[in-house]
């Protein structure tokens, strides 16, 4: 009844506005206001002021009222997850999800997340992981064995009852597909679901900066900032050292899965590491940020005489041949110049994101025998016969 009564009034009002040409004026005012608010928002969150410098998908702004965290979806345009960590409990932000910190209980769905928390001495906040078989950290393994940490399985099919019973305050997921399932329901229960797109970062130092997110969430931001600063410095120093080397080797990466050879794209995280280690990666000119797949004939033609083969994904040459007997035709295979982190994958996935300097140092050590860094290989190992 109310609606029926309201309608004639609304139409009369609209006709009045159009007739008196005031509607154009109001429209212009509204347009101006919206543009103005966009400009002011852009100014307030100027990317140059972000704590992160290399990350493509994570920006953090420290303001008087608190910390704003923006996580940009790597695949969906204009989709940004916005979070606000207030300094005072009274501060609010209308378009940001408010998070009370420090978070003392968290479920993490990636080995990298464990590594980042470990770097900040905060593995005690972990209440759930994917599976014990993907963990390197001893404390977390102990936690799983003593049932203090729950195994949830893959992030696309977790048990919600388990999540709720874990009493976790936050879920950090990788967002391989889309938003975390039932995230809005969990939000209502006071459980924040935050995506972590560190795996989509094309720059190793950009990947490293995601440790800051964990820092702000767990109240260890100072420690995180120091870590990022130190590792960035070390990384840049190593890059400088490599650039002075007189040798330049050719490298290729990946292996045959089914009929396709999967290799890092020219703009990927691994290709960037190869570039900074001063070597010639065969697909450096490719523009892809993720993996590229090619058929074996192309790989063999391009890489028959390539000096080094990285990351074939197997522990020994026997297994490489079992996967693809044609690998025998690579010079790198014949000359035993194959390196991989397969002997301890979990260690690589946990630690490498926080320590791109270790990865770069390993590559420099392998590719430039003229440079002596006075250290042992940390992640990589030469692939032997057995």
């Amino acid at each position: 009844m109310t609606r029926i009564r309201m309608q004639p009034f609304f139409y009369d009002f609209m006709i009045f506005l159009v007739k008196s040409k005031k509607v154009y004026f109001i429209g212009l005012v509204l347009l101006f206001c919206s543009c103005n608010s966009k400009i002011s928002k852009t100014k307030y969150f100027d990317k140059k002021q972000s704590i992160t410098k290399h990350s493509k998908h994570l920006t953090i702004y420290e303001k008087q009222e608190g910390v704003y965290i923006h996580i940009k979806h790597p695949e969906i345009k204009n989709k940004t997850y916005r979070y606000f960590i207030p300094i005072n409990q009274q501060s609010n932000s209308t378009d940001h999800q408010k998070i009370k910190t420090p978070i003392n209980s968290m479920i993490v769905f990636s080995s990298t997340h464990i590594g980042m928390l470990s770097e900040l001495n905060k593995t005690n906040v972990i209440k759930g992981v994917v599976s014990k078989k993907y963990v390197h950290n001893k404390n977390v393994i102990k936690g799983i064995e003593s049932k203090k940490i729950i195994e949830f399985g893959e992030e696309n099919q977790p048990s919600f009852e388990k999540i709720i019973s874990s009493k976790a305050k936050l879920i950090m997921y990788s967002g391989f597909t889309d938003d975390f399932s039932k995230s809005t329901h969990l939000q209502k229960l006071g459980i924040h679901c935050i995506p972590n797109f560190d795996w989509k970062e094309p720059h190793p130092l950009g990947k490293l900066e995601w440790v800051l997110l964990f820092g702000y969430l767990t109240g260890t931001e100072k420690m995180a900032k120091i870590h990022v600063k130190e590792v960035t410095q070390k990384y840049n120093q190593l890059k400088k050292i490599a650039s002075k080397s007189k040798t330049s080797k050719t490298v290729f990466s990946g292996n045959l899965v089914g009929e396709h050879w999967w290799a890092p794209g020219g703009n990927s995280y691994k290709a960037k590491l190869f570039k900074d280690a001063k070597c010639e990666y065969r697909y450096q000119k490719n523009r892809k940020k993720g993996s590229i797949n090619m058929h074996f004939e192309k790989i063999l033609i391009d890489n028959k005489n390539t000096n080094y083969w990285f990351n074939p994904g197997f522990k020994n040459k026997k297994l490489i041949l079992q996967n693809n007997p044609k690998s025998i035709h690579f010079e790198s295979f014949k000359n035993n110049n194959i390196f991989c982190y397969s002997h301890n994958k979990n260690k690589f996935w946990e630690v490498s994101a926080c320590h791109p300097d270790y990865v770069l140092a390993d590559l420099i050590q392998i590719l430039h025998p003229d440079i002596n860094l006075k250290r042992d290989l940390y992640f990589y190992k030469k692939i032997n016969e057995k």
Binding site: G258, H260, H295, F296, E297, L300, I301, K304, K326, H329
Partner: protein, 331 residues
């Protein structure tokens, strides 16, 4: 007159296969000469990149396309005659699924014996044979072909569910390997394996020529065949065995390849309008080989734009063909 027409068509098919096979050897990233092709076969130099490409990749791939096409087409024909149903085939009746299940067990469980080359072949053969035997037993009790077909489809679903269960517990790397294996590939075979595979396929196809007479009588019906003195049990056993060997071998080396066994025998019957299995077997060998070579050619030509797995392409072509067959039969 009809014999002459058939011989003409078979001659055309042989010409097509020779042309496709020969052309496929020259499609790829680098151009090769005829002399290099000859050398790669008879005077192989493992230091020459072009010869490596030919010897290790192109010749095994082209040979495998011919062998897989011929083997799957023949096994499809045998299944269609045995079950007297033109929609039967090793893929539909679950023989491929049986082989896939056992390969899945080998790849996903990591049980050492099955991870060897002979272990894989053996497990695929066992899988195909067990499924074939189950279908055979069912066919003894169930007269209706539609019911048999339904049982085959249900068995396939059951096996696929088992494979899904295995996948749930498998490690990510093994899962990735199995996923790509299930898409099929003509590229997995090694040059040295070709002789053995050719011998198995050749002997199995030759064996099928020994049962052409009973197969011809089976076309008019099981009762009629029995009254003509055909040993039905023996023919059934031979049909299932030959199909299991052909399908199992191809699945072990190429992964499951869909629809060839279904589409090619039907195509041969449409073109040649004959039920004489002597002719049909010959035609299916050539038509199957030609069809697979054509698929391989499409894959190689599209490699620079998109990498199409063989199983995807055969399904793209085979599925509309089955729909056409069903509609044609209905009308």
């Amino acid at each position: 007159m009809k014999n002459k027409t058939n011989s003409f068509w078979i001659f055309i098919l042989i010409l097509c296969i020779s042309f496709l096979g020969f052309t496929n050897l020259f499609i790829g990233e680098i151009s090769v000469s005829i002399k290099e092709c000859f050398n790669a076969l008879f005077n192989y130099d493992s230091n020459s990149l072009n010869q490596i490409i030919l010897h290790e990749l192109r010749i095994p791939r082209v040979s495998m396309a011919i062998l897989a096409g011929a083997a799957l087409a023949v096994s499809g024909l045998l299944m269609q005659t045995l079950f007297n149903n033109q929609l039967a085939g090793p893929y539909v009746l679950g023989l491929n699924s049986g082989a896939s299940l056992f390969i899945g067990l080998s790849m996903l469980s990591g049980f050492y014996f099955f991870n060897t080359e002979s272990g894989m072949l053996l497990s695929a053969l066992i899988g195909a044979f067990i499924l074939g035997a189950i279908m055979l037993i069912c066919s003894m009790f169930i007269r209706s072909n539609i019911s048999l077909l339904l049982i085959g489809i249900m068995l396939s679903s059951f096996i696929n569910a088992t494979i899904n269960l295995l996948e749930t517990f498998a490690e990510a790397e093994k899962l990735k390997g199995f996923f790509f294996w299930s898409m099929g590939s003509l590229q997995r075979v090694e040059f040295y394996q070709l002789f053995g595979i050719t011998l198995i396929i050749f002997l199995a196809i030759m064996l099928s020529f020994l049962i052409t007479k009973p197969l011809n009588t089976l076309v008019i019906g099981e009762k009629e065949a029995k009254s003509l003195g055909v040993n039905i049990k023996k023919v059934r056993f031979l049909c299932i065995s030959i199909t299991a060997i052909l399908t199992g071998t191809i699945t072990a080396f190429c992964g499951p390849i869909a629809f060839i066994g279904l589409a090619v025998p039907n195509l041969s019957k449409i073109i040649f309008k004959t039920q004489d299995h002597k002719k049909l077997l010959v035609v299916n060998v050539f038509l199957g080989a030609g069809f697979m070579l054509l698929c391989d050619m499409v894959i190689q030509l599209s490699n620079n734009f998109i990498l199409i797995p063989i199983n995807v392409l055969t399904s793209f072509i085979g599925a509309p063909f089955i729909i056409y067959l069903v509609i044609r039969k209905k009308s």
